[in-house]
């Protein structure tokens, strides 16, 4: 039992990547097999992640040295409480995949199904690798696996407008990746090591220098682009709105969190160096609060439901970044929980929106009036997701936003607490618009008036996720208990 964790850890990353390579072979006879195979791989990977979390709980952090070379010279995978905190996000994949089965009928020809599922698994493998890597250069490589598969997934449904959105995403994403590579090179030149833990020890031992500051600043900016923090968000709305709905769910719910996890890694690296984090925290608080208000404000004017959800992501990333910038225990707990809860809520909303678009063929509020009469279950899931993201009790969104607001007052930054409430009001306005159109207006389109509920393979994931939004709101103590160790570790590293 004692060696189970280190033995299994490499498989957490290797399984989805190997699965991605196998998808085209499985799909050779019948493209529909690709979807089933992908679900199996995603489920096995998720179970593996839960075994690793259980191992962590019983034996503490463990690592695996790849290729038999010991750290700090070999490449290390490290599973600590910080990595464990990101694992539940991977479970959301198991809901997105079955939803895709029937959804892909409309936007994708059969011969593109295998590449689609292969890219989804590559994305999952990259995300998991990014969470568990203990190596600075691998951080860059896994980030690129995630980014490249995301660019391709945005464009996968073909047509020029998707390619244009994907290219805009790529050009900004590539520059931010380049900044990460530059910073990795600089940190290696400064410290002579690539192991994350080792680099942070050696940085702390060395004199604080301009070069170290430059490296950490490049990393922070690069990850904020990946997280789409306002005003670095310009690539996000088109890419997330134009992609097929399962892809939007993954991009909005999971892929932007790469930036957040990366940002937290930068904070851990910088913690011991003697470089003051105060300026960074101030920038994060100001930009976070601006993102909350601006994201919500821009969302009000959208008629396209997916574009509205994309702007809502910008606003919610603002909540998370504000929580990190406040850096008080309550705010950090709120931010950490919101990383998962926002993922859960946004996947629910995008999948529900996808089901509605799939069944009616329309995607704007004015066309979708009265859709709740014909699709009551999906519309109810959408309503639960909307209430969650506004942050009303008793839903999942309330817990984290309440903690971040408490954190603002705890850090003696009450003004940001008001920005948060103000943003929530804006968010409330545009979701009320959506619910009003869905529930209280008469249909204007014959396709909406005659729509039927989505098939069960699409409806079941949406309903289960919506139920989870309610359960995690009522039992808010569970996610808080789960992230608390990771927050305690971070606070200890930051010396607070």
């Amino acid at each position: 039992m004692t060696t189970l964790g280190p033995t299994l850890l490499p498989w957490l990353v290797a399984l989805p990547l190997a699965g991605a390579a196998l998808v085209p072979i499985v799909a050779r006879r019948d493209a529909r097999w690709a979807g089933g195979f992908t679900l199996v791989v995603a489920l096995v990977t998720t179970s593996l992640a839960s075994v690793l979390v259980a191992q962590l709980a019983s034996q503490g952090p463990f690592s695996a040295d790849l290729g038999g070379w010991a750290a700090p010279y070999g490449i290390e995978l490290h599973f600590d409480r910080f990595a464990a905190w990101t694992m539940p996000l991977a479970a959301l994949f198991a809901f997105v995949i079955p939803f895709s089965w029937r959804y892909l009928d409309a936007p994708l020809p059969r011969e593109r199904w295998a590449p689609f599922y292969a890219l989804m698994l590559l994305n999952l493998g990259g995300l998991l690798g990014f969470s568990v890597t203990g190596d600075l250069f691998n951080l860059f490589v896994t980030m690129e696996v995630v980014s490249l598969s995301s660019y391709a997934l945005v464009a996968v449904a073909g047509r020029g407008v998707a390619a244009w959105a994907a290219l805009k995403y790529l050009l900004l994403g590539a520059v931010s990746s380049l900044l990460v590579l530059f910073a990795v090179g600089l940190l290696f030149a400064l410290t002579g090591s690539l192991n994350l833990a080792d680099v942070s020890v050696r940085l702390a031992a060395a004199e604080p220098s301009g070069a170290a500051l430059l490296a950490l600043a490049s990393l922070a900016v690069a990850f904020l682009v990946k997280a789409a923090l306002f005003p670095l968000h310009v690539w996000l709305p088109d890419a997330h709105a134009i992609a097929p709905s399962p892809v939007s769910a993954v991009l909005s719910g999971l892929v932007v969190k790469v930036g957040i996890v990366g940002l937290l890694r930068v904070l851990q690296l910088a913690a011991g160096t003697g470089i003051s984090l105060e300026p960074l925290n101030t920038v994060l608080m100001v930009l976070g609060a601006t993102a909350i208000v601006m994201g919500a404000f821009l969302a009000i004017f959208q008629d396209d439901i997916k574009l509205m959800l994309a702007y809502s992501t910008i606003s919610n990333i603002g909540y998370i970044v504000l929580g990190i910038g406040l850096a008080s225990p309550f705010a950090l707990i709120g931010a950490f929980v919101h990383v998962f809860n926002h993922g859960l809520i946004k996947v629910t909303l995008f999948l529900a929106a996808g089901a509605i678009i799939h069944q009616t063929g329309y995607r704007t509020l004015s066309d979708l009036r009265g859709v709740a009469r014909r699709m009551p279950q999906t519309a109810a899931a959408m309503a639960i997701g909307a209430v969650s993201i506004v942050g009303l009790p008793p839903t999942a969104g309330f817990v984290c936003k309440w903690y971040i607001a408490l954190g603002a007052f705890e850090a003696d930054q009450g003004g940001y607490g008001f920005a948060l409430v103000f943003g929530a009001l804006f968010i409330f306005v545009y979701y009320v618009r959506m619910l009003d159109a869905f529930f209280f207006r008469s249909p204007v389109r014959p396709e909406v008036a005659d729509a039927v509920e989505a098939p069960w393979s699409m409806r079941a994931p949406v309903l289960v996720l919506a139920a989870a939004c309610l359960v995690l709101g009522v039992l808010g103590g569970i996610p808080i208990g789960f992230v608390e160790p990771a927050v305690v570790d971070l606070l200890a590293a930051l010396g607070r």
């Binding site: 250069f137 660019y151 020029g160 244009w164 790529l170 590539a174 520059v175 380049l178 090179g185 290696f188």
Partner: protein, 116 residues
Amino acid sequence: MTLVGLDLDYVACVVLFCVGLYMLVAKSNLIKKVIGLNVMETAVFAFIVTSGMIEGGQEPIVVAGSAPPYTSPIPHAMVLTGIVVAVSVTAVALALIAQIHAHYGTIEVDELKELP
């Protein structure tokens, strides 16, 4: 080699980086933007390789008669992986540009923006 207190090779990297950044931001042609990105990537690769070099350093292969100082091999390995990543990014970008051209008939950003 130093020039007024600055390492000339690092200065060259910064200049190259800025040239690439200018192309990426200012050019309207999408292919030129991608080439600008490649120039920026080259600047970063050159910087990383240079950082591993030392004056009079030998290739890090220990055989009879070789003696320190050696140059660091790790930056080379990193840059090799970086080049693979850069090639993949360029390939995806060019594929997307081909799709844009097939659909809109143009690859100029100012013309793409005017389209509905």
